[in-house]
């Protein structure tokens, strides 16, 4: 590699780093929603950042960095972390910071109640709610991240909403 190529590569790497930083808040939100624990979520995020960095050559520019990172994080969760989350039973204060009143819209439910209900759903439903309903990914991106068909995403979403509604007593 000549000096010019090196500096070019470094410049590109620099912007990749900035892109990663920009995705950290969303990545943490997804991780926390998925595992229900802020501290485990941060371990997942750190793991995903390390993997993303060492595999940066596999990222295809022009595709969604967010979707790529979510895929990496999700794979770690299911392969390594899921059991661990069950073991620790979240003694670390799940959503410790979640004292914020849920915004301005009057239709919001109590945030703590909502999170409790969310935590009772199977992870397959939690993740689809988070991906499509909150992080703004498309059905197609969510399907790719979860490795299933779009139709499966839609039916999981329906089941997740029905279950939440039941848990929160919305349909009474």
């Amino acid at each position: 590699m000549n000096a010019h190529r090196v500096s070019e590569a470094l410049a590109n790497q620099g912007s990749f780093k900035d892109d990663l930083v920009a995705e950290i808040p969303g990545l943490r939100a997804f991780a926390t929603s998925l595992c229900g624990s802020v501290s485990v979520a941060d371990d997942l995020v750190q793991d995903a950042l390390l993997k993303a960095w060492s595999n940066s050559s596999k990222f295809q520019p022009g595709t969604s960095l967010r979707a790529w990172l979510f895929t990496i994080l999700r794979n770690s969760y299911y392969s390594q972390y899921r059991r661990r989350v069950r073991e620790i039973q979240d003694s670390d204060g799940v959503y410790a910071r979640g004292i914020a009143v849920a915004g301005d819209q009057e239709s919001h439910l109590d945030l703590a109640d909502f999170r409790k209900a969310l935590g009772m759903l199977p992870p397959e439903q939690r993740e689809v709610l988070t991906l499509v309903g909150a992080s703004g990914l498309t059905y197609e991106e969510a399907a790719e991240i979860c490795g299933v068909e779009v139709g499966t995403i839609k039916s999981r979403l329906s089941r997740a909403r029905a279950k939440l509604s039941e848990l929160l007593g919305l349909d009474e």
């Binding site: 590699m1 000549n2 000096a3 090196v6 590569a9 470094l10 790497q13 620099g14 780093k17 892109d19 990663l20 930083v21 920009a22 950290i24 808040p25 969303g26 943490r28 939100a29 926390t32 929603s33 941060d42 995020v45 750190q46 950042l49 390390l50 960095w53 022009g62 969604s64 960095l65 967010r66 910071r97 979640g98 914020a100 849920a102 915004g103 819209q105 239709s107 919001h108 439910l109 945030l111 909502f114 999170r115 969310l118 709610l129 988070t130 499509v132 309903g133 909150a134 992080s135 703004g136 839609k154 979403l157 329906s158 909403r161 029905a162 939440l164 509604s165 929160l168 919305l170 349909d171």
Partner: protein, 73 residues
């Protein structure tokens, strides 16, 4: 590359499930609560350790790139 924004509208949240028995009001409450939950998490400041980690990775990369410049990969 364009950065995604958090606020991309999520079309159709609700319409589909409506046919399965959930009323529109319930769907709206679930949808807005979900967004409030997520936004609350997204607003949390990024812990310094993540920025330090990326700085460290970048520094390592520079060191090893300079060290290996000119060598075949």
């Amino acid at each position: 590359m364009p950065r995604n924004t958090i606020h991309r509208p999520t079309d159709g949240v609700g319409k589909q499930a409506a046919s399965r028995g959930l009323d529109v009001r319930s769907l709206e409450r679930i949808g807005s609560s979900l967004k409030a939950h997520y936004e609350d998490l997204v607003r949390t400041p990024i812990p310094a350790k993540f920025l330090e980690l990326l700085d460290q990775l970048e520094a390592n990369e520079r060191t090893s790139s300079v060290g290996s410049a000119g060598k075949p990969r």
